[in-house]
């Protein structure tokens, strides 16, 4: 990342907050909704100060009624507001999938464009904090599979802000997925954000293309630094739209593709990228496309077992090296 003097340094969580503040400031129809996002400032303090600054009419505390308030946010999006609605943990999709999957994702299509649903579903994922099996799931594959939803996953500080602002400006429902383990990460804000839907080459390299997103971007960048292989790290930034062009360009150069995510590997989003990569680069790949994700096991509580299951940068480096050794 550049270190030009004018770049602001901040933390991932503050960048999210700044993104919301930006949106609330510039769009009078924008509202923020969720459990304790208002006066309380959010259980992870991500929305801190917004209610004070923009009023509790626009930064709205809701009861513990996800199906109701997420559905209401969708209805509000149909009628002139631009809600950024928080689903506190991505696991809570279990209690509010319908308004996202069956309403927001489909209403534009079913009405042949007569209804527009500009809404951001803000949520966060992340294992590695002993949050237990019901508070540790990365479920991006679920929403990416539903036509009509965009899915973005900031893995850097600037994307935490940029993707949120872009998602809020988008006329479509966007699922915006934070990673809780990144909240305190420091980084700079870019002056010239990449557009939503474009991947970013985080590290240049020649031997292996590693495609990832969210928290694993950091892990993979560290792996690239530590590895004896020359790793090119692509931060996908969004699953829908999926910027396969950047992935294919890179992997056709390196001849090796490794897809890495924190989510469970089986039937995970990485399978789509791996399947496409293997298909499109059939003649160019030197070794099979590899994937690294969590095994098909609920996330345990105790830190040692969590560490056993969680994908780690070290495994990325080791796998990349093995791929180079292989061919």
């Amino acid at each position: 990342m550049s270190s030009a003097p004018e770049l602001t340094t901040t933390r991932y969580m503050h960048a999210i907050n700044a993104g919301m503040a930006d949106v609330l400031e510039h769009d009078p129809t924008a509202v923020v909704m969720g459990i304790d996002v208002g006066v309380g400032g959010g259980i992870f303090t991500v929305t801190k100060g917004l209610a004070e600054r923009f009023g509790t009419d626009r930064v709205i505390d809701t009861p513990i009624s996800e199906m109701g308030y997420v559905g209401a946010a969708v209805g509000a999006a149909m009628t002139g507001l631009r809600p950024i609605v928080e689903i506190m943990f991505m696991d809570f999709l279990g209690v509010c999938l319908d308004p996202i999957m069956n309403q927001a994702a489909k209403l534009r299509y079913m009405t042949a464009g007569a209804l527009e649903i500009p809404i951001v579903f803000r949520t966060q994922t992340g294992s590695g904090k002993s949050a237990g099996a019901q508070h540790s799931q990365s479920l991006e594959a679920m929403v990416a599979h539903i036509p009509g939803l965009k899915v973005v996953l900031p893995g850097t500080v600037t994307d935490a802000k940029d993707l949120l602002v872009q998602a809020a400006a988008d006329p479509n429902p966007v699922v915006y997925v934070e990673n809780r383990r990144l909240y305190s990460m420091k980084g700079t804000l870019d002056d010239d954000p990449l557009p939503l839907g474009q991947a970013r080459v985080a590290v240049r390299g020649d031997d292996v293309t590693v495609v990832t997103w969210g928290q694993m971007v950091r892990e993979c960048v560290a792996a690239a630094e530590a590895s004896s292989a020359s790793i090119e790290v692509i931060d996908l930034r969004s699953l829908v739209p999926l910027d396969m062009a950047t992935v294919l360009e890179s992997a056709s150069r390196t001849g090796r593709l490794l897809v890495v995510h924190e989510a469970v590997q089986d039937f995970g989003a990485g399978a789509e990228i791996a399947a496409r990569g293997a298909e499109e680069l059939f003649d160019l790949l030197r070794v099979p496309v590899r994937r690294i994700g969590a095994p098909s096991v609920p996330m345990p509580f105790t830190p040692t077992l969590e560490q056993v299951l969680m994908p780690q940068g070290e495994a990325v480096a080791r796998t990349a090296e093995a791929m180079v050794a292989e061919g």
């Binding site: 009624s65 199906m67 559905g71 969708v74 507001l81 209403l107 534009r108």
Partner: protein, 334 residues
């Protein structure tokens, strides 16, 4: 703060002086003609998918819609043709949508369970029981925050009251004092089930008052004028900023849950009793009794409705199916 008014369906409610009885009659006749035609068309295989008609329940649609402004919001259910028509949706575009034609409200992409026309506040029918209720709470939230003075009405059946979304949505509207009207068409059955077996508290109005402290009334749904009066009062409360209202309209569906359902779960006696309280007949009798029109004039209106629907059917039949490439359009907006 709240109270319930139970109207015995066997006695017609006293209507307010201003009840637009002739308009109501026209709307009921139109929906009757539409649903009758749709039922036959579905039987004959001209309409695909699932179809749920509102025959017998037209008085609710007419009464509610007549109390609304064009810019008020409405969302409904799988049984929503009448509501959408009453709110002013174009009859040809409605019929064409059921046929899956490109001239349909959703260019054939939505179908019977997803008719919508946001230009006149119709946010759509919905095939997920209870899902429209939170959407309408959101529309009411928009109206309030954007200071628009619009009222938002969610139609749903008494079966939907056992869905969590009802509970969460009504509570939200209550705590935020939203201009939302929860319009429960209690037609006694949810699919094949006698709904009284699925709750201990049969009155949806009572459940709403007790559970949420929301003003709720029960009204004879087969008396369009009574529905109109109750809705007018509810709309007034909403526009005055007094928060949500629930209206439970007692009614009865004549046909099966979906077209084709033979209704073995209903007694002949019950069905007859309700057929005898046909909302079209109730309204007609009242109009004639009050001297607002003659029986012959009403017959002419009903014939005109039939003809209007015949035209719509002819137009729908003649219309094109959407071109294949339309399948890929309208997923995302730019």
């Amino acid at each position: 703060m709240t109270h319930t008014t139970t109207t015995d369906p066997s006695e017609a409610a006293a209507a307010p002086a201003a009840a637009p009885l002739l308009d109501l009659h026209g709307t009921v006749a139109l929906i009757r003609a539409f649903e009758t035609a749709v039922s036959a068309l579905y039987r004959d295989g001209e309409i695909p998918g699932f179809v749920h008609t509102s025959l017998g329940q037209e008085g609710v649609a007419a009464g509610v819609a007549a109390a609304l402004r064009p810019d008020d919001y409405l969302a409904t259910t799988h049984r929503g043709h009448g509501h959408v028509l009453a709110k002013g949706a174009d009859v040809d575009a409605m019929m064409a949508e059921l046929f899956g034609k490109v001239t349909g409200l959703g260019r054939g992409k939505g179908g019977s369970m997803h008719v919508a026309d946001p230009r006149i506040g119709i946010l759509g029918a919905n095939a997920i029981v209870g899902a429209g209720i939170p959407l309408i709470v959101g529309a009411a939230l928009s109206s309030k925050l954007l200071k628009q003075d619009r009222v938002a009405v969610a139609f749903f059946g008494e079966g939907a009251v056992n869905q969590g979304s009802f509970h969460e949505a009504v509570n939200l509207a209550a705590i935020w004092d939203l201009p939302a009207i929860f319009l429960c068409e209690n037609n006694l059955y949810a699919e094949f089930t006698d709904s009284s077996t699925m709750t201990r508290v049969g009155s949806v109005a009572e459940r709403t008052i007790g559970g949420y402290g929301v003003h709720a009334v029960t009204v004879d749904g087969n008396d369009a004028a009574a529905v109109h009066a109750a809705t007018t009062e509810a709309v007034d409360r909403c526009r005055r900023g007094e928060g949500p209202v629930l209206i439970e309209a007692m009614t009865y569906r004549w046909h099966g849950h979906y077209e084709g359902d033979g209704q073995p779960y209903k007694t002949e006696e019950e069905a007859t009793r309700w057929r005898d309280r046909d909302p079209l007949v109730v309204l007609g009798a009242r109009i004639v009794a009050e001297g607002l029109a003659t029986r012959e004039e009403l017959d002419a209106v009903e014939r005109a409705a039939d003809e209007r629907i015949e035209q719509a059917v002819a137009a729908a039949r003649a219309a094109d199916l959407p071109a294949g490439e339309e399948a890929y359009e309208h997923v995302f907006g730019a």
